[in-house]
Symmetry: D2
Subunit: 189 residues, 4 copies
């Protein structure tokens, strides 16, 4: 099974990238998680889209389409979704062949403050509702005080965090499989 990972932060030492890697380790017996670098995606502009989807957008769309599932690990900026991650989703959401349709998605967030992104995830769920993606409900994963939970090599040093992520990935695997059964059934009918 292959899972595409999207990190909501562009900085090199992002805690959310570390969180994505931790999720990948939790899944590794069943799936490989590959982070997709979406940083070259241009600003969404309907005039530009009229000339065709840019290659970086097509790459992300194909990456999502060909993946069995999507993992999004994102910080919270100003109580909501990082603009650039939203911009990438704005491109992905367009067109009749929308790759997020019925695609299983799980959300995680890490922050250096105490709340761990308690506000961004609901906005992100609302955006994904628009695309009709199949978003895992529970368990939710919020990693607060992230700087205390990952070492300099990006390794998670907090057992509780590992267990939260493990539990979510366990639920996510079951969820992905059900979505696959449904997709096959839809194709059969």
């Amino acid at each position: 099974m292959n899972v595409i990972g999207l990190c909501g932060s562009l900085r090199g030492q992002s805690f959310n990238r570390m969180l994505l890697q931790l999720a990948g380790q939790c899944l590794q017996a069943a799936a490989s998680v590959v982070e997709h670098d979406w940083s070259a995606i241009p600003p969404f502009n309907a005039d530009l889209m009229a000339k065709g989807m840019p290659s970086s957008v097509r790459a992300l769309r194909e990456g999502i389409r060909s993946a069995d599932a999507v993992l999004i690990a994102t910080p919270e900026y100003n109580f909501s979704i990082p603009g650039m991650l939203k911009n990438a989703l704005d491109w992905v959401s367009r067109g009749s062949d929308q790759p997020l349709l019925h695609k299983p998605v799980a959300i995680l967030s890490a922050s250096t403050g105490p709340l761990g992104g308690a506000r961004v995830q609901y906005d992100l769920r609302k955006v994904l509702l628009f695309t009709n993606a199949a978003v895992l409900s529970k368990p939710e994963v919020f990693v607060g005080q992230a700087a205390d939970k990952f070492d300099d090599h990006g390794k998670c040093t907090d057992q509780a965090t590992r267990e939260f992520v493990q539990a979510q990935m366990h639920a996510f695997l079951e969820y992905i499989r059900w979505q696959q059964v449904q997709r096959m059934a839809r194709a059969t009918v």
Copy 2:
């Protein structure tokens, strides 16, 4: 009085740009509204910011700082804030000299569907709360079915829309003046 206008859409024939211009006409006896082109602002990245604010970001920050107020007219993308507008705000919100602090802001939205952006404005208010901007509460302006309300030259042809915007700008002017009185009082103390 000078007001900086931010349009949430980058396309040329944006209905939200037309709405911004309509708001400018409503204000013209008291203030001039100049749209600020923020399209050159790069993706927010804390690593990049560590090297200093990019010039396009500094230009937007200075534009906001030196303005008496901010007008934001924005479409709704995927039930929320256009990613690039959010990216611009993500840059503006950083630093200890945050230009939106106590700055009067009014929000309008237009869409080609019936709801006129009924979902984006609350997310935008939440983001602006983070910056501690002074956001006008009421009246709210939602322009649904925008394609029927502006002509090919961008002129508003709908009397009800004109009156809604006029009423909001009337309230906004009073609101800006009160914020100015408070700012002066703060400076005095």
Copy 3:
């Protein structure tokens, strides 16, 4: 198949009750929708709950538990969920034997204004996320200008509204069946 219906409004001639009935007609070949009268549920109070769930609360919990699915048709009060509907859900959400867990839910809203409840549904989805109910994503149903769409006998006179509700109920039936397959599979493992 039996579906429990919850109307967010307590007034007799509620448009949302009419909408619930319309949904019931759309489902009638496959399921019967019975509205549950939750109006006797007392104010949620943890001290009261400590003495045991009140009988009206138990009735609602049992009604949900024994139903195959839940339909909620609700107005929007003050941009969000009617307080009393939320109070009923506050009671239902408590306890380890929470009846909404994995229960299929569909949401509709009607209003006399143009937006049809565009703001209440996202708040309601967030609340239902807490309970880990299985909430249908799309299609969404918003009935604006409801007074023009139902006659004095509560019958829907608007063909477009009928089709929107029909499409949602069609999707809901498929959704309920999948949730049932999953529940059976869970019970088997």
Copy 4:
């Protein structure tokens, strides 16, 4: 100056009631905070309202109208506003003589979990926006792990919490005074 306090929880030993009392202590040199018991307010029902506002509703409306400001301390139920508090606000929001109009409001929340109500406050702000109340923006007060921060007599034992509340009340007093200046000016014009 007199401030009306609303506690979002009905249980006797509510941490939010303790938080309200702490806020009252912080204000005591300038204002007295009196909690208003709204527990007798019936379920909102437009048919009932058509017969006149119930006396418990009139008492709350008059309490708000005659107060200089409103303090709301509320728990988070199911990621949102407690249903009964919302029901009280649903009643208050009705009628042309709406008492929350331009009324200064500050929001605090306490929870026994780590997030301190990080999700309820934005929903409450959206509801209060409908009423056009004047809601203090910052500083926000979230009291997580409340059981560790108040003793058996309801006294706050956590110095950081005291300082957060003190800072908010300091800002609130200044905010109330400005709203009063504006109200007087409006009355003069």
